[in-house]
């Protein structure tokens, strides 16, 4: 299983999280779905789909929370028969990131993922560049940035 990062400061926290939580697949991305690091994905297409769907779920629940007049939900868990999908917002110096975690129920558990996600959040906060301004993703640059990110994530 490979772990790769577009932004280097995310790599060590992600590797620690994967080892401790026993996660199968992980994406660390911006709220817009721009991937900063990934673990376990073997195809660029899967990363693109997962990032887009994860970001859309977070955006939907953020909007529900807004309509209910409350702060965004901290995390979401979808549990299936063999796998669980966990999505959580992670505030960092680089803005609010989103972690999407897929875990096998016979290897890990919701409790373990939650526990080590707190550690991941703390590690990302500590490692994130303090003076960086979250980069806006412009429609004109989106495709090129996506292509660059996927090239880095899959070592092309």
């Amino acid at each position: 299983m490979t772990t790769r990062a577009v932004e280097g400061w995310t790599l060590q926290p992600l590797m620690t999280f994967v080892r401790e939580a026993g996660a199968r697949l992980v994406l660390v991305m911006t709220s817009a779905g721009q991937v900063l690091a990934q673990h376990g994905f073997s195809r660029a297409l899967d990363v693109m789909s997962a990032a887009a769907l994860g970001a859309a779920i977070m955006a939907s629940t953020d909007e529900i929370a807004r309509q209910l007049g409350q702060a965004p939900f901290a995390a979401l868990n979808h549990q299936g028969e063999r796998h669980g999908i966990f999505l959580a917002g992670v505030p960092t110096g680089r803005g609010r990131l989103v972690a999407l975690v897929v875990y096998d129920l016979d290897v890990s558990s919701l409790g373990l993922v939650q526990l080590f996600l707190e550690q991941l959040a703390a590690d990302l906060r500590a490692a994130s560049p303090k003076d960086s301004v979250p980069k806006q993703v412009l429609a004109a640059d989106f495709e090129r940035e996506l292509s660059d990110s996927l090239n880095t994530l899959f070592g092309r």
Partner: protein, 120 residues
């Protein structure tokens, strides 16, 4: 008595044993705390998640060894002990106690088994 009140009473009996620093009911499958009575400084969610993970692995080891399901386990450490009674198989509840190293293990086991009857 409501289920929550019953859980509280069961945990109360465990924590009354001298040397017990906390007791919890944990979802075995999820590793999430269902109910707890813990002294300050014990990280309940961490203990719950790791105890559940350990229980899954122990269950597999027991199955591989052909000795059936575990009914009680006790981990002794330098500065304390962790005692667990699993109930109801993989999707059940774990009754967990965190104790001082010199706790009366037999008495804690008895109270854990009683609590398991309430929670299971």
């Amino acid at each position: 008595m409501t289920a929550a009140a019953g859980y509280g009473r069961a945990l109360d009996l465990i924590t009354r044993v001298r040397g017990v620093r906390g007791a919890m009911l944990v979802s075995a499958e999820d590793g999430i705390v269902v109910a707890d009575q813990l002294m300050e400084g014990i990280k309940g969610p961490a203990v719950a998640a790791l105890a559940s993970s350990l229980t899954t692995r122990l269950r597999r080891a027991m199955e591989a060894a052909g000795v059936g399901a575990s009914v009680f386990w006790h981990l002794q450490a330098e500065q304390g002990a962790l005692l667990v009674v699993p109930t109801g198989g993989a999707g059940g509840i774990l009754v967990v106690a965190v104790a001082e190293p010199d706790v009366n293990v037999g008495l804690v086991r008895l109270e854990l088994l009683r609590a398991a009857e309430v929670a299971g």
